[in-house]
């Protein structure tokens, strides 16, 4: 196919179809690369509209970093899945890059945006641009169409990602590979021997048979990302540091809940809130959500695209949530100490209360 290319540029920004655009770009890069043997690469770039040297500096920079972070995590997740099911045998490497562009210029018109994007593409020899149909480069102003026209004047390939809003079908089997299989086998075998308690021939043989079966069935299910030995060790160590902290929090939570429940007046003021946690990826979100459920007066009710819906029992538990100590701890476990330094959810404005939809029907 001559008109396709595996070197793709994707301008990104928050939008309702952002997730699907990332998925489409990664899928296309892999498809074309496996057909042509080209070296596949996807660049996610964020054109910033304002000079970063004004009072909004901090919040804008954070939002940009957050968006690019998300794109990277999602893209890496997608690389481990097989949407067509046909490419399972060959593993096509796709490199993922993220960048912020246009900090050094004033971006006002669609033409400005197009210029910085095209410059970037020319520098990195990218020859295909995929645009998110809901992308709003200039904030709220509808300038996508003029932007696409401007981009199309170059000789690059420009297209809109074909995304629909409700395609969130959960994907189950990811790609199989050796490292997943080895990890799975080791985990299952250890577990079997722990259960058996005796290391005789019989247990070693049946344990190996069992671990083999488990590996065949589950290695593509349990892991989304390919396990990486060094990262695994680091995370395990950090997680072990996290456990005592979590236990302490659980104990505190229980004493306060016990006080509330046994108090004759039942002093509760429940409320639902939406919390945009700065955490992405299945495992880390689950850790955070279950930690929230276990600790002071808060319960994770639902999980939407990028936010958790949390039911809290009292005002003091809401204050605890706003300080964001748990979020920071989970970020420490998964992303390291530097990532743990982050403004609290209250400062970021990440928590909003969820309005009750039908206040009139209370007597029902």
């Amino acid at each position: 196919m001559s008109e396709s290319s595996a070197r793709i540029l994707v301008p990104v920004g928050e939008s309702s179809t952002f997730r699907n655009t990332v998925a489409y770009a990664v899928r296309e890069a892999r498809r074309v690369a496996s057909e042509t043997g080209e070296e596949a690469t996807v660049h996610f770039v964020y054109p910033v509209r304002w000079q970063l040297v004004d009072e909004r500096e901090q919040s804008v920079a954070e939002e940009v970093a957050e968006t690019l972070d998300k794109a990277r995590v999602w893209a890496t997740d997608d690389l481990d899945y097989d949407d067509d099911g046909e490419l399972a045998s060959e593993d096509v490497p796709v490199s993922i890059e993220t960048a912020v562009i246009g900090e050094d210029r004033y971006l006002f018109s669609p033409g400005d945006f197009a210029t910085v994007l095209l410059d970037y593409a020319a520098d990195r020899e990218l020859d295909r641009i995929i645009v998110d149909p809901e992308y709003r480069p200039g904030g709220s102003a509808p300038m996508l169409q003029p932007l696409e026209l401007e981009l199309a004047r170059s000789d690059l390939l420009v297209e809109e990602a074909p995304v629909e809003r409700v395609v969130e079908r959960s994907r189950l089997p990811s790609r199989a590979n050796v490292s997943k299989a080895v990890t799975m086998f080791a985990g299952s075998f250890t577990f079997y021997l722990l259960l058996a308690g005796v290391f005789d021939t019989f247990n070693l043989v049946t344990g190996a048979v069992s671990a083999g079966i488990v590996t065949a069935v589950f290695s593509r299910i349990t892991f989304v990302n390919t396990p990486d030995a060094s990262r695994f060790v680091v995370r395990t160590v950090r997680f072990l540091l996290y456990v005592p902290y979590l236990l302490w929090e659980i104990l505190k939570a229980n004493l306060s809940v016990a006080y509330i429940i046994l108090h004759p007046d039942l002093p509760i003021e429940p409320e639902m809130q939406r919390f945009r946690a700065a955490i992405w990826g299945d495992l880390s979100v689950t850790t955070l959500a279950n930690s929230i459920t276990l600790t002071p007066g808060t319960l994770t009710v639902d999980m939407e695209r990028d936010s958790l819906v949390i039911h809290s029992l009292t005002q003091s538990s809401r204050d605890g949530l706003e300080e964001g100590a748990l979020e920071r701890a989970v970020r420490f476990v998964f992303y390291g100490r530097s990532a743990a330094r982050l403004p609290s959810p209250a400062e970021r404005g990440a928590i909003s209360s969820l309005p009750t939809t039908d206040d009139t029907e209370e007597d029902a």
Partner: protein, 155 residues
């Protein structure tokens, strides 16, 4: 209730449940196999182990939905399991008769620990059959549900 007011959005599976299922089910599956293999000396055996194995699969099916589970495990696998389990049982049983013993008389196999391994193989066969039957029953019942929803389409 006021379901009219609420915006219609697609039902999305919960990441939290999915991840928990991902982590827990392989261990449950291993436990099921452990129970199958240790039927000889403790509470357990092929039937119980097969049921545990099947429930680990059903946990995944509940967390992810029926369609992705079908993509993961094809129906033919279960047919193979059911047939293979029964065949293993029959082969070992009849093999003993061929060697001049009674049906399932393991002692006639002249291997060291022949009795023990014979029992375990039979248990594994029973377990495979039980797990296969339970999961394929579950899948077929669920298929009935989704077909009705497609045909009726009322809510």
């Amino acid at each position: 209730m006021s379901s009219v007011d609420r915006p219609v959005r697609a039902y999305v599976e919960s990441t939290i449940i999915m991840t928990t299922a991902r982590i827990v089910s392989p261990f449950v599956f291993t436990f099921g196999l452990f129970v199958m293999f240790h039927g000889a000396e403790s509470a357990g055996g092929g039937f119980q182990g097969g049921a545990i194995v099947a429930s680990s699969i059903i946990v995944v099916a509940f967390a992810f939905g029926i369609e992705p589970t079908r993509q993961w495990l094809d129906d033919s696998i279960f047919r193979l399991l059911i047939a293979g389990g029964a065949a293993a049982f029959a082969l070992i049983g009849l093999g003993a008769m061929a060697l001049g013993g009674a049906f399932l008389e393991y002692a006639v196999y002249n291997i060291s620990h022949g009795v023990k391994y014979g029992i375990e193989l039979v248990e594994l066969g029973i377990g495979a059959t039980v797990a296969g039957v339970i999961v394929s029953l579950f899948m077929n019942l669920a298929a009935g549900l989704t077909n009705d929803a497609d045909g009726g389409d009322e809510t």
